[in-house]
């Protein structure tokens, strides 16, 4: 992945700051709870939701098992339709190819459709270095770009901002990028949308190059698909002369008919819409309408490594609906930035460490950024068992990490004790005998402090169950005549 996010603090450190930001917490709680409820309603309308979910998972699994076949089929179809296909192993290569294509046209400006892939590669920064201005056209992406901020949500990158904050950003920044915000701009959503529309229209009409990702690529026809709500994407996809689409290789599906499943599950899971307002499809180039040059850059960037992991590969089914973010209690409190990656929330916690590896403290902390409550697995429209992958990745982190040596020793000691009931019983009895001495707060550093800084420690029992049972019942199950069950 790109270097943009490197050197960020680990998840618990970042979350330490964000959990104490009351404005951020309020913005996030409001936004996620609203969409959560709406999504549940939209899903409950479909009697065949479980079947759609299974079908979506099955299509994606099948494709991933035969990824080489379908990618080659796609390449042929795109080429036959007048497009050019490029293969990029990593982020740098994808950015190099893109920059080269733009340089050949002599242009210095591009308009962008909201795309996770280009965030993953850090394309905007790479283009900036090459002297090319990239303009984000999705409303939320525009807000983030104008604010010199980073996205914090897959679908609503500016979810951490409220209306007043957005008004201030438009008011202060738009003029530096193009058409200024109207005077006396209010924080009324309609006014904000109108200001963005005017600002963006100027860019759509002037810019000769569009850059996009894609939600789906259809192997059989070479068709790419973008699903959106605003229509800005369609402008970028159809107005410029040259279109460059940078797409992760896992976004492929075999046939046009397979779309049927995802065009039902994606909008309902992401925006709680029955059908998204704009679905744009493009197949190579046409002489009359749409771009005259089309380049497809197929991005690997850690995906084939992920594919090699039998448990972790489920993550590649993801259709980026963001339902798991909206339902995640950890995301809601920590905010998207704490994940230090374009992919925050539960999907980010499993995808980022697979794409990027687990060598930095941040990436190694991501699999632990979950209580394993399972809400994400429940809502995922392609049934990715996120908790299972989290635990699987924790194993990887624990095995490689120097920092986990003490923890492993503690776990081993615990296992030894738990595998020797007589010893366990002795420890329990000792703890009970000294129970009056255990304070509710511990002055010790480490886990005990992390617990007792804000929570009392539980009392130790006067008599552990195991000891009481032996006394009352002996070895067998029946109560002794002379003893009663303690109450």
């Amino acid at each position: 992945m790109s270097g943009t996010y490197l050197g960020l603090p680990s998840f618990p450190d970042a979350a330490h700051t964000s959990t104490h930001d009351t404005q951020l917490r309020a913005n996030l709680t409001h936004a996620t709870h609203t969409i959560r409820t709406k999504r549940a309603t939209a899903i409950n309308e479909l009697p065949d939701w479980p079947q759609l979910r299974t079908a979506g998972a099955a299509i994606k699994d099948h494709t991933l098992h035969h990824l080489d076949h379908y990618l080659l089929q796609l390449e042929t179809a795109v080429t036959n339709a007048g497009g050019t296909v490029h293969w990029a192993t990593d982020a740098d290569e994808a950015n190099r190819i893109t920059t080269h294509i733009i340089h050949t046209t002599g242009e210095t400006e591009v308009v962008k459709v909201k795309s996770m892939a280009t965030q993953e590669t850090g394309l905007n920064e790479a283009l900036h270095t090459a002297g090319i201005h990239a303009y984000e056209t999705d409303l939320a992406e525009l807000i983030v770009q104008l604010a010199h901020d980073k996205p914090s949500h897959i679908l609503v990158p500016a979810i951490h901002k409220n209306r007043t904050e957005i008004r201030d950003i438009f008011h202060n920044e738009m003029a530096h990028w193009g058409r200024p915000a109207p005077d006396h701009l209010t924080d009324n959503p309609t006014d904000l949308a109108e200001a963005a529309r005017l600002h963006l229209r100027e860019k759509f009409l002037r810019t000769k190059i569009g850059i996009s990702g894609a939600n789906f690529m259809i192997a059989e026809t070479g068709t790419l698909v973008v699903v959106e709500s605003e229509g800005n994407g369609r402008m970028c996809l159809t107005l410029p002369d040259t279109l460059i689409s940078i797409v992760g290789i896992e976004k492929i599906i075999p046939t046009f008919q397979d779309l049927e499943v995802f065009l039902q599950t994606l909008p309902r899971s992401s925006t709680a819409e029955r059908m998204n307002p704009y679905t744009t499809m493009w197949t190579g180039t046409t002489t009359h309408d749409g771009p005259k040059n089309f380049h497809l850059i197929l991005l690997d960037n850690g995906r084939t490594d992920t594919l090699a992991d039998t448990t972790g590969r489920q993550a590649l089914r993801c259709i980026r609906c963001s339902a798991c973010l909206n339902v995640c209690p950890v995301y809601e409190r920590a905010g998207g930035h704490a994940y230090g990656s374009p992919y925050p929330g539960p999907i980010g916690a499993i995808l980022t460490p697979q794409l990027r590896g687990t060598t930095t403290p941040l990436d190694a902390s991501l699999p632990y950024a979950s209580t394993l409550c399972g809400a994400c697995y429940d809502v995922c429209p392609v049934a990715i068992n996120i908790p299972e992958i989290l635990v699987h990745l924790r194993e990887r982190v624990a095995e490689q990490g120097e920092g986990h040596r003490a923890e492993r020793a503690a776990m081993r000691a615990a296992t030894w004790l738990l595998d020797h009931p007589a010893a366990l019983s002795a420890v329990e009895r000792a703890a009970s005998a000294t129970r009056g001495l255990h304070p509710a707060r511990l002055p010790l550093p480490g886990p005990a402090k992390a617990w007792s800084d804000a929570r009392d420690l539980p009392d130790v029992a006067a008599e552990p169950f195991r000891a009481g049972w032996k006394k009352a019942r002996g070895a067998g199950g029946a109560p002794r005549k002379d003893k009663d069950t303690p109450r």
């Binding site: 998840f11 618990p12 979350a15 959990t19 104490h20 917490r25 209690p329 950890v330 409190r333 920590a334 632990y368 950024a369 979950s370 209580t371 394993l372 409550c373 399972g374 809400a375 299972e388 635990v391 924790r394 194993e395 095995e399 986990h404 923890e407 492993r408 776990m411 615990a414 296992t415 738990l418 595998d419 009931p421 366990l424 329990e428 703890a431 886990p447 005990a448 992390a450 617990w451 800084d453 804000a454 929570r455 009392d456 420690l457 539980p458 009392d459 130790v460 029992a461 008599e463 552990p464 169950f465 195991r466 009481g468 049972w469 032996k470 070895a475 199950g477 069950t485 303690p486 109450r487």
Partner: protein
């Protein structure tokens, strides 16, 4: 019917009252209960923190300890889920690593017999009214593993609703995680506490005097927050409520960690 109580390590050391309540309740319903002394812990802390290999001796121990029982009943949704959901995974991985079917067999031997307490009451004994009496206002927090991994559904609430004298108050955001999450509570203390505080706030808003759960691990966390803040709300395991009768009402002071 031979039934073994799998108490879990947390209950054994910190909440023996939950264990005794489970025994009293089951015996009152005519079930003979054993407590196999070879049992200790299901290995959930190790497994969920990424130490799968450290879990393996405990999988073997569990299978040995509970061999021969028709049912293994536990007053902990997360430990039941560990046995039912994760043991098969541990077995399958050992097999895939070329270490033979021993762990997979151990896992399989437990999988269908291990039940969470409310499952055993509702599905096997087919009772929802267990003859309990508990004249207090109660709100119920359904712990995530019971709720999602086991799919306990309405079982605990049905049992509570049938308790004489008990007034059940609805908990806002009931299905949201309380923020415990095992080692999550110490690895991500800020988020864990933020979640715990929200849960506690919702529980206090109900005006109930008892916050009931079917998993003491979540209650350790919530109780720790409540006590630190001297809040007028006590946590209590569901088994203690169901065990309470008019003749022998729940008494908060005589066993273990109750207060």
């Amino acid at each position: 019917m031979r039934v073994a109580l799998f108490l879990t390590c947390v209950n054994d050391a910190l909440y023996p009252g939950t264990g005794w309540a489970t025994v009293r309740l089951l015996e009152r319903l005519g079930v003979e209960v054993d407590f196999p002394a070879a049992q200790t812990c299901c290995g959930q802390p190790q497994f969920n923190t990424g130490y799968r290999h450290e879990t393996e001796p405990l999988v073997r121990r569990m299978a040995r300890a509970f061999d021969g029982y028709d049912y293994v009943v536990t007053p902990s949704g997360s430990c039941a889920a560990m046995v039912r959901d994760n043991y098969p995974r541990i077995g399958a991985k050992a097999l895939a690593e070329g270490r033979g079917p021993e762990l997979a067999d151990a896992a399989a031997s437990l999988q269908n017999r291990t039940l969470e307490l409310t499952e055993f009451l509702v599905d096997v004994l087919e009772v929802t009214d267990v003859g309990a009496y508990f004249p207090h206002t109660v709100t119920y927090h359904p712990s995530c593993h019971g709720l999602r991994m086991l799919g306990l559904g309405e079982r605990p609430r049905k049992l509570l609703q049938a308790v004489k004298g008990l007034e059940l108050r609805e908990l806002d955001g009931a299905e949201e995680c309380c923020g415990f999450g095992g080692t999550f509570a110490v690895k991500n203390p800020d988020v864990s506490l933020a979640m715990g505080h929200d849960k506690v706030r919702h529980a206090l808003d109900t005006g109930a005097t008892i916050l009931c759960g079917a998993d003491n691990s979540c209650l350790v966390h919530l109780d720790g927050i409540l006590r630190r803040n001297h809040a007028p709300l006590h946590t209590l395991h569901l088994a203690e409520i169901l065990a309470s009768t008019e003749q022998h009402p729940y008494q908060p002071t005589t066993t273990g960690a109750t207060r």
